[in-house]
């Protein structure tokens, strides 16, 4: 039984995954900033410290109230907000020392892909990771995920969140923009930037925000922003898929909850006869289960860390992480 602790950004979560890769418990508490304001790292970390005890306790309880003791403790070591990461790492170290169980550092982005692959039973996909921290197209080569394409500036999650804040829409931005977009009809011309397999979103954000300030129609703007941003990514995914000739396409991360994005990436996969595996919506956003799932796989590959070396890494590229458990059996 592996306990996973997530605390990279707005969510503090704890989850147990058993030796058959089944999610036994998954308890999460998310800090919500006021409308129009982003995540304040210190305030989010204070939220995490406040709820940590309850979240972990609940995750380690059976339905009849008795306690379950994990064999492995996994914590999200990065990338993320420093103050938030340190809360989860502290809880992980304490439990590991108290229960005398091994500690496993987990890369939050790798974990997004691991849980999506576990649920989809995907083997060796072209992975599309879209969240507030990542916008990357990846394939696994050797022992590592290789970045085939990525954003050159802000992530897709950043784009939607920042635009939502500008428009005074509630967090999470992707959901609010998506809802508003359903009412939009007219496509407004916005910058569309694809460079090879890479995308760039900052110009799109500026143009959309400026149009909003000029009293543009909000529904039409949300519609156009979503269509433009998702089309850019879909095009980069299509190019990568043709070049890598993978037969599976995985879609993971918080923005993977968007029905429109699922539809578009699904259509790209279908056009090139690849199977499409979007992460189930309940596991798309940050959660303890992704860390537990990835932690179990890492532990089985012999990856552990001593308490004195259990650092957090706020900036940590996906292609620097050793991931020997892919292709999956």
């Amino acid at each position: 039984m592996c306990l996973g602790i997530e605390s990279t950004a707005h969510t503090f979560g704890a989850s147990l995954v058993d030796s058959d890769d089944r999610i036994v418990t998954n308890v999460n508490s998310t800090y919500r900033p006021p409308v129009g304001v982003g995540i304040h790292p210190r305030k989010a970390s204070e939220h995490h410290a406040t709820v940590a005890d309850d979240v972990v306790r609940t995750a380690l309880s059976t339905t009849d109230g008795s306690a379950i003791y994990p064999d492995v403790i996994a914590y999200a070591a990065g990338p993320g907000l420093g103050p938030c990461l340190r809360v989860g790492a502290t809880v992980g170290r304490a439990l590991s020392a108290f229960l005398k169980k091994p500690l496993v550092p987990v890369h939050h982005g790798v974990a997004h892909l691991d849980i999506a692959m576990s649920i989809a039973k995907a083997r060796d996909p072209l992975a599309v990771l879209v969240s507030g921290g990542h916008t990357s197209i990846l394939v696994h080569v050797g022992r590592k995920w290789r970045v085939y394409g990525e954003t050159q500036d802000i992530t897709l999650g950043n784009l939607l969140d920042m635009f939502a804040r500008e428009a005074k829409l509630p967090s999470p931005g992707g959901l609010s923009v998506g809802k508003e977009a359903m009412k939009g009809e007219t496509l407004i011309k916005l910058p569309y930037t694809v460079k090879g397999n890479d995308v760039a979103y900052s110009g799109l954000l500026t143009a959309a925000a400026m149009s909003l300030r000029r009293q543009g129609n909000l529904a039409d703007l949300c519609f156009s922003l979503q269509e433009t941003a998702f089309s850019m990514l879909s095009e980069a995914v299509e190019r990568s898929l043709v070049q890598t000739r993978r037969s599976e396409v995985l879609l993971a991360g918080g923005v993977a909850a968007s029905p429109r994005l699922r539809e578009m990436i699904g259509s790209v996969a279908e056009d090139h006869s690849a199977s499409f595996h979007p992460v189930p919506i309940e596991y798309s956003g940050d959660c303890g289960a992704q860390i537990a799932c990835s932690g179990r796989l890492a532990f089985n590959s012999g990856i552990t860390v001593s308490t004195s070396d259990s650092f957090v890494t706020p900036r940590w590229r996906m292609d620097e992480v050793d991931v020997p458990w892919i292709p999956r059996a």
Binding site: V139, V141, R146, V147, Y148, E150, Q152, L187, K189, Y192, K195, G196, D198, E227, T228, S231, S234, E235, E238, R239, L241, V242, Q243, E263, M264, I265, S267, V268, D271, R317, D319
Partner: protein, 218 residues
């Protein structure tokens, strides 16, 4: 020019466009048609295909005017987002490079370097320069094709991406010694652009490789 009435046979299906072969009078031509993408909003889709068709055709023509070996534009069918260009007989470099002996391969790379030099000097960057996008004619002269990702730019960054992508494809897909291949390429490149541009572009290419933004080499 209306390509809809042309009888053509399919040649290749890419990520963005379909290529087919046709005959116009005495010429064998390639029709590159940007196809509708089901995932994309129809208005956005039409706009992108329209803009790129025009930009690609004009870049190819400009490259030709600058003296680079590229296909000749026969016509543009704006209604159908298609470009008609002359068909090039020969072999894709990706497929013939490994069958060459070292001096033959070096000669080819030097000549490819000259072609890239001509493009860069004309203010054009290719944007997707791999050995799959070089066709070697029966006489051994390389032609650069597929300007779908190309742009007008004189930035060292964009020029560096071209050299980097070529190097990546040589490392990833060929058994020839990459550093000897790239040395020959750079010599040809420098002959056209001069020492200053060549060294700044090559420096940039190595920097891009170290960023790890692109796969395969670190």
């Amino acid at each position: 020019m209306d390509t809809a009435s042309l009888t053509s046979t399919p040649l290749h299906r890419g990520a963005e466009a379909d290529l087919s072969l046709a005959t116009i009078g005495p010429w064998k031509v390639v029709v590159k048609r940007r196809v509708r993408k089901g995932y994309r909003n129809q208005i956005l889709d039409q706009q992108i295909r329209h803009d790129r068709t025009i930009s690609e055709a004009s870049v190819i023509h400009e490259a030709k005017t600058a003296g680079a070996r590229v296909p000749s534009i026969v016509g543009v069918d704006i209604e159908n987002n298609a470009i008609v260009m002359t068909h090039l007989a020969g072999t894709v470099a990706r497929e013939c490079l490994d069958d060459m002996d070292k001096s033959e391969a070096q000669k080819l790379l030097r000549s490819i370097g000259e072609q890239i030099g001509l493009l860069h000097t004309a203010g054009i960057v290719h944007g997707d320069l791999t050995t799959s996008n070089v066709i070697v004619s029966p006489s051994g002269a390389p032609f650069i094709v597929d300007f779908g990702m190309s742009r007008r730019s004189v930035e060292p960054e964009d020029r560096g991406v071209d050299l980097h992508l070529l190097q990546r494809s040589i490392i990833a897909s060929h058994r020839q010694n990459p550093s000897s291949m790239m040395n020959s390429m750079i010599r040809g490149y420098e002959e056209i652009t001069g020492k200053k541009v060549a060294s700044s572009t090559w420096r940039k290419a190595r920097e891009i490789a170290r960023r790890g933004r692109y796969f395969a080499i670190r």
